[in-house]
Symmetry: C2
Subunit: 349 residues, 2 copies
């Protein structure tokens, strides 16, 4: 019987040899799947959906039933943490996440709580342990959190933003206050991820979705150190659990990320994987980076571009096939099949 | 009497020595100026404002009256071209530009016209000639257009977009059609910029605001060649007029841009100017790249960060001080003064 130690995903993260690169897809559980949409029709409120372990488990397992993927990622959201800290999150249809009372002042930031994660976010642990028990033994389950910088972006801006001027202004004119917020988020995130690991998560992913909006200097001050703190804390407590960090569009950051102790680095589609490999050396795994627009087209085009991506990097160890960003809700199912087929049939010699 | 040949801006673009780097600021004419807001109150419709040469001239001159800037840029918009091609543009308050009938099908793209620029966009030429006549003789006036890729983004998506999936899907599954659109825009853009130069523009800027959303491969296919075609056509017809290209957040593109014949390259705030210089060599001017969030803070912080930017690059020729993106409407006037003062007082030895 296969076990996790045979897992392509974990072997690739350790830069060990694999028969072919593992494949999973960011947001593989979600809105492009009719069975997910059906599930959501029954529980339209997104945060309620996230807070219901049976639903999170079912959504996590759905893509595994359709596609022979090499990892699952627990269905949840990076905004569970701000919600638990007192910046309550709601999802307005077609609008994305909204925090009605953002933490954009000293008073509001000081009011934020450092919650007991078992009490407030235990629903994620329950979802993970149930899902882990229901999954094939040799397929890893990925737990995740947002990076402190990215979580703070939502907390301070009150949702997503085009320019992130409120929090970026704070980075320049109230750096101590912003660091206080980031330290709070970091502490909760470490507890949260340890809870996820204890519940059964086999790998951790840190989504720094908005790391790329910072200048290199601000990234080095406000995002990278907190990614490092989390990575080091997890390494100390759970040395066998690999961590992948994904600072989207922070193209100055790859060699810095390679030096904070992560096993994997996520790569968006706006850079050539070979350039990233040249920057980070051979000892860290790279994950990505098919343009999510490719998978909106046709199976033939998906296959062509997937093979081209694999030609660039996949003959050497330390590579995990994925998109460069989350899969879009308009993705045709047959195009996911074409991606799987391309990864399975590629000539890796 | 000073003449244009003494202009710091034109000398810096030619990588000639200057007493200090020239300074201008993207969107220096606009919403952070109370006198501009007053002018707009009288003509709230943005396209009408752009189409009225007296108003465009007045808006262009306003920042020069307040600040000793080293260049002006004609007040206009990159969407004048799509408007003239038949994809009519309107600006909804608080929403940005909207094209109600986007060019997102073969039928619509084939319907687009290649207008006579004198007939349809002559208002821009009138604004330029009037402004040029009213400006100090030694201050250059910059003309501009969007890059064909960026203009096509608006035409195909029907406005701005978060993910640009409609046009990016077209890049993958209907590349010939997209190239047809880009060729049409390119032809109009060349005519349009030649008209601007004949009317008195002393330098040209190409804003490729959305070049960075493309994969490197797609950028090389759908943005770079059209920037090159325009640059080469201008070089042939107007060899003395320098061209600057700004592909925002296309951090793989600097050395490619340095090889298409431009004199200047715009740089956003998300990369270190020294890294860009190392990529492009000494023979092309760099323009940028203060984080536009910095200038929202205080004069002291603006000064500190401006000096830090100047320390990085400004002691060598071929540098133009600017922000890394357009100035925000919430920028305090005194912070613009602080930026000017920093550039004037910096120790360039």
């Amino acid at each position: 019987m296969s076990t996790l130690s045979d897992s392509r995903f974990l072997r690739a993260l350790a830069c060990q040899s694999v028969d072919r690169p593992p494949l999973w897809v960011m947001r593989q559980a979600g809105r492009y799947l009719p069975e997910y949409l059906e599930l959501r029709r029954q529980t339209p409120d997104f945060m309620t959906f996230c807070r219901t372990p049976e639903l999170a488990m079912e959504a996590t397992l759905q893509p595994l039933r359709r596609f022979p993927l090499d990892a699952a990622i627990i269905f949840s959201d990076i905004l569970t943490i701000p919600d638990a800290m007192g910046t309550k999150v709601r999802f307005a249809p077609g609008e994305g996440p909204i925090i009605d009372d953002p933490a954009n002042s000293e008073k509001r930031i000081k009011q934020l709580i450092t919650p007991d994660v078992e009490d407030t976010l235990g629903y994620v642990a329950k979802a993970i342990s149930a899902t882990r028990a229901a999954m094939p033994a040799d397929i890893p389950l990925i737990g995740f959190a947002g990076s402190p910088w990215t979580v703070a972006c939502y907390q301070v801006e009150g949702g997503s933003s085009k320019l992130f001027f409120t929090i970026k202004k704070m980075a320049y004119d109230a750096p101590k206050l912003l660091h206080e917020l980031l330290r709070k988020i970091t502490a909760v995130t470490i507890d949260y991820l340890c809870m996820q690991i204890q519940a059964g998560a086999n790998a951790i992913m840190l989504f720094d979705s908005w790391g790329g909006v910072l200048s290199p200097e601000c990234y080095d001050a406000f995002s990278l150190p907190y990614l490092k703190t989390i990575t080091q804390a997890l390494k100390e407590k759970h040395p066998d659990i690999p961590v992948t960090a994904f600072s989207k569009q922070a193209h100055h950051a790859y060699s810095k990320l390679a030096n904070i102790g992560v096993q994997g680095i996520g790569v968006d589609w706006m850079i050539d994987l070979r350039d990233v490999r040249a920057q980070v050396g051979p000892d860290v795994a790279l994950q990505g980076n098919l343009d999510p627009a490719v998978i909106l087209t046709t199976p033939e085009i998906v296959s062509e571009h997937a093979h081209r991506m694999l030609d660039q990097i996949a003959s050497k160890p330390g590579y995990i096939a994925n998109l460069g960003h989350g899969i879009d809700k308009h993705t045709p199912i047959e195009n996911m099949h074409a991606l799987v087929e391309a990864v399975q049939s590629h000539d890796y010699s």
